[in-house]
């Protein structure tokens, strides 16, 4: 394990990107910070800038307008960076599959920028907060 990966696994700071989600995954992500789940216990913290982030939590289908912004956000994060596709839409565009303004899913857009990106998938509509925590823990433990 390289020291970069080792340092990434401690106290993950995440930046949350909505690329056309219906808000459900987003409120569940915010829910993680509130007293019942309280992921700050584990050092997981939402930050306000992608440049401070170790991981991107991407929700939503990636609309045509959001795609260039998602690419730019990924470029701005410091590498290595883990991308979490949160929810069915981010994993494979879900119920919006085939809509004319949807260019996703998330992994397709991220791989256009960086073919070797580390992408983890947490399915569900929306994934329960427990599932999100479990996804993050599993992804970090196999790095």
């Amino acid at each position: 394990m390289s020291w970069k990966i080792w340092s990434l696994k401690k106290s993950v700071w995440v930046f949350h990107v909505n690329t056309g989600a219906c808000n459900n995954c987003d409120i569940e992500i915010v829910n993680l910070l509130t007293p019942r789940y309280d992921v700050e216990r584990f050092g997981i913290k939402l930050v306000g800038s992608p440049r401070h982030a170790d991981a991107l939590l991407v929700t939503g289908v990636v609309t045509a307008q959001a795609a260039p912004r998602l690419r730019e956000l990924y470029r701005q994060t410091s590498k290595p960076c883990v991308v979490f596709a949160m929810g069915a839409c981010a994993c494979q565009t879900g119920i919006f599959n085939g809509a004319y303004h949807v260019v996703g899913p998330v992994d397709k857009i991220i791989r256009e920028v960086d073919p070797n990106a580390i992408i983890a998938y947490v399915p569900g509509c929306p994934p329960k907060p427990e599932a999100m925590i479990s996804g993050v823990v599993k992804a970090l433990s196999i790095l």
Binding site: V17, N18, G20, I27, T34, S49, A66, F96
Partner: protein, 405 residues
């Protein structure tokens, strides 16, 4: 050099901190004062209306519940009202009551969510943590009834998919008592708090005349003294049978909107109790053969305002036209009236007051004028929080201790 070039323009978005869709606000600022605001939307456009025309009537509720995850009971209900109007279907009474209960539970959790975020944006994270903590039991109830914390998918043409089992009713009542007690404590704490009074009163005022001319709906309108509520004016589901009142405030500022939302939580709890008491026995769905040609509309009061769905059918198993008018779409332009003349530090809060969905982690891009004025979202949040701290100091508020509550 033109004067307008010198004025810094502050861009809010498109990954917008406070709105549910990605939206882009361009604020023209003169020093600390906002002089103009421009709105651009469609970042979150997913083509739902077009997609809906490719789906069958029974599949569409799942799609429209994903228009907005927080209004995920109101949108399907408005759609169902439209389809049932075309087909002339009267669902069984129990289905109407189940729909009402789920919609009101949704309103409770949505309003608590807003109260928490409102506190978060002025740097009062205690309110945020409390409100979101007391919201959890409501989500648990929704999960117990429908199987999902959000996106309930519980309505279908002609009735409901999942019933509320009678064994669950005592548990719901017990949890509601708890939620009511905690919300009561939170409401009193908020309404008595001198900091919140100074910080929220007179901020982002939307006068009654402006509210009418911008045609705003929901708590935004009720906070400006206009008593419109679809549940009262054009009752659907079982609202006509319930005893409740429309909450209004006359001031039109952020504080008034907060009061409206907090008091509506109690009305909703009251309604759920009554509906559970009156819950009739019987089936929860009728069989639907086909949807005849015709057109119909349905309305529902979402937590943010009136949701309107229009359906045109040609007798097939898919609608030929589906039009959705969501409450935020009419509430957002009212920023033109409520934001101009405000301090930058108050803008985040004013934007939040109209439509309280948290969509994306905050980010403000920078569009500078010639002066390289850089305000990102963190800076705005900091300004907002510093103002709260300054006011606290000025009026000499003692630190609130947790054990007081």
């Amino acid at each position: 050099m033109k004067e307008s070039v010198n004025k810094p323009i502050l861009a809010v978005g498109p990954f917008h901190p406070l709105q549910e869709e990605m939206e882009y606000f361009q604020l023209t600022v003169d020093g600390e004062i906002v002089t103009d605001i421009d709105v651009r939307i469609s970042y979150n456009h997913r083509g739902i209306e077009r997609l809906s025309e490719t789906l069958q009537y029974d599949q569409i509720p799942f799609l429209v519940s994903r228009i907005c995850g927080i209004c995920s009971a109101s949108h399907p209900l408005a759609y169902i009202n439209a389809v049932e109007e075309i087909a002339g279907i009267t669902p069984p009474d129990r289905a109407l009551y189940v729909r009402t209960i789920i919609n009101e539970l949704e309103r409770i959790h949505s309003h608590l969510l807003w109260v928490g975020l409102g506190g978060h944006f002025i740097g009062y994270d205690t309110v945020f943590m409390w409100a979101w903590k007391y919201r959890e039991p409501v989500l648990d109830l929704l999960e117990a009834i429908t199987g999902n914390r959000n996106n309930y998918g519980n309505v279908k043409v002609g009735g409901c998919r999942e019933d509320i089992p009678n064994e669950l009713i005592p548990k719901i009542l017990k949890e509601l008592d708890l939620v009511e007690k905690k919300t009561d404590m939170l409401t009193k704490a908020i309404l008595d708090d001198p900091v919140l009074h100074v910080r929220l009163k007179g901020v982002g005022t939307l006068s009654k005349e402006d509210a009418i001319s911008y045609a705003v709906t929901g708590p935004t309108a009720r906070g400006s003294g206009i008593a419109i509520d679809v549940r009262h004016d054009d009752p659907y589901a079982a609202y006509a049978d319930l005893d409740w009142k429309v909450i209004t405030q006359t001031e039109g500022d952020v504080f008034a909107k907060a009061v409206v939302r907090l008091l509506e939580i109690f009305e909703s709890i009251k309604m759920v109790r009554q509906a559970l008491k009156k819950l009739p026995d019987g089936p929860i769905a009728v069989e639907v053969k086909e949807i005849p040609p015709g057109e119909g509309f349905g309305r529902a009061e979402a937590p943010r305002g009136e949701t309107f769905h229009y359906i045109r059918s040609d007798g097939g198993n898919r609608p030929v036209r589906h039009k959705v008018r969501a409450p935020s779409y009419v509430n957002v332009p009212s920023f033109k009236a409520s934001c101009i003349g405000q301090h930058i530090a108050d803008v985040t809060l004013t934007l939040a007051a109209v439509d309280p969905c948290y969509s994306c982690t905050e980010r403000l891009a920078v569009v500078d004028g010639r002066k390289n004025v850089v305000h990102d979202y963190d800076a705005l949040l900091r300004l907002s929080r510093e103002k709260t701290a300054r006011i606290k100091k000025e009026i000499g508020v003692p630190e609130i201790k947790l054990e007081d509550f």
